[in-house]
């Protein structure tokens, strides 16, 4: 954000907002007589940010110590990642900040778990319309194909971070707007990737479906994808 053409009013507001942001971020509030009142602002801001983060990262939050979590939130408030006026983007921008942390501060497994938790939220509110089509040959527009180095979908069940294991996960929203996720086998993944690659090319899509129709195992697989509403 750059400054607008300066006016006396803007200069006064710039001076004040710099002072207030320093007061909010500094631990010691010696320069102001009513420290109690400034502390209220600090608390309100932190609580508000947290209220948009914790529901998005429910599993990761249980694996992060209170001190570390507080440090991250405080760092976010001093970071340049507070770029969106929309509250739902706070979690995404928080993740962008964490992705820039060195491994010594944040394990890749935890970062990837947080990304997976965020994807579930992103799929839930994605603006795509999920409508059944006549031919059942259209990929669900909310579908996300995500590659991880860890089995992030199993962490909730295990209650701890797990060793590295290359993992592909699919997440999508069904026609009733429920978020679904699976770990596809190699054949399912290849079929979906192929269908995705020919989405823009009508002729290629037509040819692909001719092959699928003529191949019983692929026909069976495409029927499973329809039942799961990955194909609409």
């Amino acid at each position: 954000m750059s400054a607008e053409i300066s006016s006396p009013g803007l200069l006064q507001i710039e001076a004040w907002t710099k002072t207030l942001s320093n007061w909010i971020s500094e631990k010691e509030l010696e320069s102001y007589q009513k420290k109690h009142r400034l502390a209220v602002y600090r608390e309100l801001i932190r609580n508000n940010i947290e209220s948009f983060l914790i529901p998005v990262f429910p599993i990761a939050r249980t694996l992060i110590s209170e001190a570390m979590w507080e440090e991250w939130v405080a760092e976010f408030l001093q970071s340049p990642y507070r770029t969106s006026p929309l509250f739902r983007n706070i979690a995404e921008n928080f993740l962008v900040m964490l992705a820039n942390f060195p491994v010594s501060r944040l394990s890749p497994a935890l970062l990837q778990l947080m990304r997976w938790e965020w994807i579930e939220m992103a799929v839930a509110i994605n603006s795509a319309k999920i409508l059944r089509s006549i031919n059942g040959q259209t990929l669900n527009p909310s579908l996300r194909i995500e590659l991880f180095d860890y089995p992030v979908h199993m962490i909730a069940r295990e209650g701890k971070l797990l060793p590295a294991q290359s993992t592909v996960l699919l997440a999508w929203r069904d026609c009733e707007n429920n978020v679904e996720a699976i770990c596809p086998d190699e054949t399912m993944l290849q079929l979906i990737l192929h269908l995705a690659s020919c989405e823009e090319d009508e002729q290629q899509a037509h040819d692909t479906w001719q092959i699928i129709t003529a191949t019983p195992s692929l026909m069976q697989l495409s029927q499973i994808l329809r039942e799961k509403e990955i194909l609409l």
């Binding site: 750059s2 400054a3 607008e4 109690h36 801001i45 507070r82 006026p85 509250f87």
Partner: protein
């Protein structure tokens, strides 16, 4: 009861926790409209979009923004404003209100409402930004007085003079939060009725009612009221609301409850109390003045004027 821009009576701030109850509730009883923060609903798909579409079929909606940062030092976010305009037009929302505060500076968004110094210069600065917003939205907006816990350095005007000056300079409507007036009157030691007497009656088109929390500093004994929206409305705020209705008329009034949300039925007595204060209002002539603020012909003039100004600017650049 005043009725303009398609609104009258009593509204409730929409909370996810209350969604099911609101969707089941008859639309002609104690709730005449709902208020939403557009930031929480814009561009949303899935269940959220479906729920919103059900709600707007049932109730008129007021959009109460949180992220415009009218009093901020960073340039207005024009992309965000364009999205707001689309949202208001798509859902036919007549009234859009925003806070007289800032929530973003040159370092980014703070996601909370922070106070600005009240001076003649800052009043002009904020009013210019409101005029820009009104030009972009093609619509008169209302600005809401915010609760504050400190008086910003450099403040020279009492808050009521600041609010009144901005509304005149920007030619905008006023959304008066009665609880915020009361909270600030305690926090900064002024007479809340004097505040309300300073405002132009015809500009006040909408009011908020809410509860607050009292906090006493353990070391200094400093008494501070915090605008939590987490408790029932206190008797002092009810008295101030009666005074406000006697002055501004029974403008549409919203009950806010954002924390410690009780059972839906427990909100009914407060909604009914607002309605009964409105019903006792004897104003019959100021309706037209308020309606005039939102007349399409006046808005069209504003829009044409702004178009002309922007055309002139283009000419000047050539």
């Amino acid at each position: 009861m005043l009725n303009f821009i398609g609104l009258s009576g009593v509204g409730l701030g929409l909370r996810t926790e209350l969604l099911d109850d609101i969707l089941e509730y008859p639309s002609n009883e104690n709730i005449q409209f709902l208020e939403i923060a557009p930031e929480n609903w814009m561009g949303m798909g899935g269940n959220r979009e479906q729920v919103f579409e059900r709600l707007i079929k049932k109730f008129p909606i007021v959009a109460h923004g949180l992220s415009l940062s009218l009093g901020g030092p960073a340039p207005l976010n024009k992309k965000f404003l364009a999205d707001i305009r689309v949202f208001l037009e798509d859902y036919k929302v007549e009234l859009y209100t925003e806070h007289l505060a800032y929530c973003a500076d040159t370092s980014g968004y703070w996601y909370d409402l922070l106070p600005i110094p009240a001076t003649l210069d800052t009043a002009r600065y904020v009013a210019d930004r409101i005029k820009t917003v009104q030009d972009i939205l093609g619509k008169r907006i209302a600005i809401e007085n915010a609760s504050t816990y400190i008086l910003p350095q450099g403040t020279t005007l009492p808050e009521w003079e600041f609010v009144a000056a901005i509304s005149e300079l920007a030619d905008c409507a006023l959304h008066i939060d009665i609880n915020n007036v009361f909270v600030n009157s305690v926090n900064h030691n002024f007479d809340p009725q004097q505040y309300l007497r300073a405002l132009d009656v015809k500009r006040v088109c909408y009011m908020h009612m809410a509860g607050h929390l009292e906090d006493i500093a353990p070391d200094t004994g400093d008494r501070l009221l915090i605008d939590t929206h987490g408790a029932p409305v206190c008797e002092s705020v009810w008295s101030l609301y009666e005074f406000a209705v006697s002055r501004f008329g029974s403008v549409p009034t919203l009950l806010e409850r954002d924390l410690n949300i009780p059972e839906f039925s427990e909100l009914m007595p407060e909604l009914k109390r607002i309605a009964s204060i409105q019903a006792a209002d004897k104003h019959i002539t100021i309706d037209a003045d308020k309606e005039k603020l939102f007349q399409p012909s006046i808005l069209l003039e504003t829009e044409n004027r702004s178009r002309k100004i922007s055309d002139d600017k283009k000419l000047g650049y050539r």
